[in-house]
Amino acid sequence: MTANEYLSQLQHALRVLPEDEQRAALEYYEEYLSDAGDDGVSSLGTPHDVAGRIIAEYAAKPDDESGKKRSLRTAWIVIGAVFASPIALPIAIAIAAVAFAVVISLVAVFVSLGVSAVALAASGVACIVVGLWVVLQSPAVTLFVVGGGMVALGIGLLLAKAVVITSRTSFRVVARIVGKFVIRRSAE
């Protein structure tokens, strides 16, 4: 590979970066290859690797930026990298569709579980109220119904808590899997 071929491949690999970052890197490597002479290209590693390091360092730039702003920028670079590649675009749409479907079904499952939990707890409360209502007529019925109501209320609350915890974890897992997939695709 000649120096010019190397630089044009590097330029292609760097296109997700802002223009001034691209220009600075290309100027540096152009000068580097002029100084390095004939074996410069072979000593550098592939344009892809070189670009990867530049992009990684740019995305991780730590100074005077809040973590949120930085991860937002990283997200934009990842999104840009995905959409900049003609092959990746249909894949990105497919990933987005699958992720959307997974999220929707998870929401459906957790909403229905949550509704059941709330209904169970509510029926427990109702039983307790009704049980106390009849305490003068029949203490035995009160004991039975209030006891049953407490069991229902307890199970309902536990179920609700479990739904909240598992839904949170599973959305986090889905987000992580999708994120990993997107980053791996864009690194290729």
Binding site: A25, Y32, D35, L44, I54, E57, Y58, D63
Partner: protein, 107 residues
Amino acid sequence: MAIQASGTLLDMSVLAMLAREDLYGYLLTQNATTLLGVSESTVYPIMRRLQTEECLDVYDVPYSGRNRRYYSITESGRRRLREYTAQWQDFKETIDNILGGAENDGE
């Protein structure tokens, strides 16, 4: 080398080399790769970051029909180098103590 310079250590080394003299990209990269055993492609991103953090300045010098971009350390670069050097001394002493302790145990 089993022990690799990375992160802050690389920043510190680059700043220290430039505190001694201004260097152009290829020479700085060569120094870093031969002295520290890092790969060629690690050096540019560090220099670029130090430059945007205003620890380094650049200026162009004509050289056989083209320009060579020289890197020089700024005042805030020197300040940072001093901070790193102090932290490095602490770190080095800690590791030396641990290693010294291990040696004594072995005897």
